[in-house]
């Protein structure tokens, strides 16, 4: 793409999210969300491939509907309470509508149906932006409207973790697997958001490097299905050895850093006297772990002399910089010993 247009779009994307972060008026927050939606639309459809255009159309319709619902809920709240300020508590009915609208924006179950298909139609870089950056603005708004001990939020969280686990079990396309992984992780974040917003922020901060690493690994291997990933031992043996660590960190296994948010969240849920929700969430993490394990098995434990299900690729030198991947892979695999420092940074 033309570098000027690309920079305008990326900067607008940053502007939109920053605007939502900085706003205390609902209209300004809505504007920030709209700017980021409008900025990513050309990025998504830049290749003019039918799949990309279809993914862009589906994304646009859902995000526009969710943004309109956000504005409607805040207008209704203004009519009822006379307040446009985000810091003030919302009346019950607009609060539920806002929660569902933000859930639709982020891709939480039961309004997650757009996310796997949209992510499937995008190339890996745009999919990365969608999975990480686009989650920030609705997440922040969600943090600011949280009631305490609401059954709707718990329902959203538990359903998301379960749907993220079960939905990903039948997938062979890597982007759909990452979509269901995103749904599950957002479910965990929502579960704890009503009790401790800093823990939800911790979960998001740990989730972003892990997802970034997986997208970069798949990009380095230029693979979008589990079968083509099996040939990566020939292309990048070091990366083939590191990838299971990243994937198992996504699954939340100790001693990798993905365990940190899950551990803290389970501790917080137990402290709040809802051990049943904590048990269901922990068991649903097993479902997600199964498909992460399947991807890492297909990639790492099927090396030569086993038969490959994919055509052997050309072993070309990659010219792209591998520094971002190196940094994010280190963060997503080795941050657990620094857990006290990380928690102190978030003033827990």
């Amino acid at each position: 793409m033309n570098p000027f247009i690309l920079s305008i779009l990326l900067l607008s994307l940053g502007l939109g999210t920053t605007l939502t972060f900085a706003s205390s008026h609902w209209l300004l927050a809505w504007m920030g969300l709209e700017i980021s939606t409008l900025a990513i639309i050309p990025l998504m459809s830049q290749h003019h491939h039918p799949r990309a255009v279809e993914a862009t159309t589906k994304y646009f319709i859902t995000q526009a509907a969710a943004a309109a619902l956000i504005l409607f809920a805040s207008t209704t709240n203004a009519w009822i309470t006379g307040q446009w300020d985000i810091n003030f508590d919302l009346h019950f009915f607009p609060a539920s509508m806002l929660t569902m609208a933000l859930a639709l924006k982020m891709g939480l179950a039961p309004v997650h149906f757009w996310l796997p298909e949209v992510l499937q139609g995008l190339d890996l870089t745009t999919g990365l932006i969608l999975s990480t950056w686009q989650k920030l603005a609705p997440f922040i708004l969600m943090c600011q409207i949280m009631p305490v001990n609401s059954s709707l939020i718990t329902f959203l969280g538990v359903t998301s973790t379960l749907v993220g686990g079960w939905g990903g079990l039948n997938q062979t396309q890597l982007r759909k697997i990452l979509a269901y992984s995103s749904i599950a992780h957002l479910g965990w974040m929502i579960l704890v958001m009503q009790f401790n917003q800093q823990l939800a922020l911790l979960a998001l901060i740990i989730y972003i490097p892990m997802t970034f690493s997986t997208f970069m690994i798949f990009k380095t291997n230029s693979s979008t299905t589990v079968n083509t990933l099996a040939a990566s031992w020939a292309k990048t043996p070091a990366l083939t050895a590191i990838t299971p660590m990243i994937l198992l960190s996504l699954g939340g296994l100790p001693p990798l850093s993905g365990f940190m948010p899950k551990w803290m969240i389970l501790q917080e849920l137990t402290k709040q006297d809802i051990p049943l929700t904590a048990s269901i969430a922990a068991l649903s993490a097993l479902l997600s772990l199964y498909f992460y394990l399947r991807v890492s098995y297909a990639m790492t434990l099927t090396i030569s002399p086993n038969n490959l299900n994919a055509t052997t690729p050309w072993r070309l030198q990659t010219t792209a910089s591998t520094l971002p991947l190196a940094i994010s892979a280190t963060i997503s695999a080795m941050l657990l010993p620094l857990a006290p420092a990380t928690l102190a940074l978030l003033s827990l």
Binding site: I41, T57, A65, L69, L71, F72, W79
Partner: protein, 98 residues
Amino acid sequence: MTPTHFTISSAFLLGMMGLAFHRTHLLSALLCLEAMMLALFIALSLWSLQLDATGCSTAPMLMLAFSACEASAGLALLVATARTHGTDHMQALNLLQC
């Protein structure tokens, strides 16, 4: 709930139902999106009457500007869909299922 508030809310919700349950054409979904935005525009315009204050009179214009940008992006996507899929029928958008 005042009659005004009820009217605006029902206009918005009718548009939302139309967007959620559109059956054949992508264009009708975009039209329902515009209807939702129009209901919100009316709501914001009447807000200053509600408050008997003129401080927030610019809000409907700002909202309308963003809504127009969104509508044009939607129409551009409609044209792109017509180019790649040949039609704007919703059944044609089935390339991405499992």
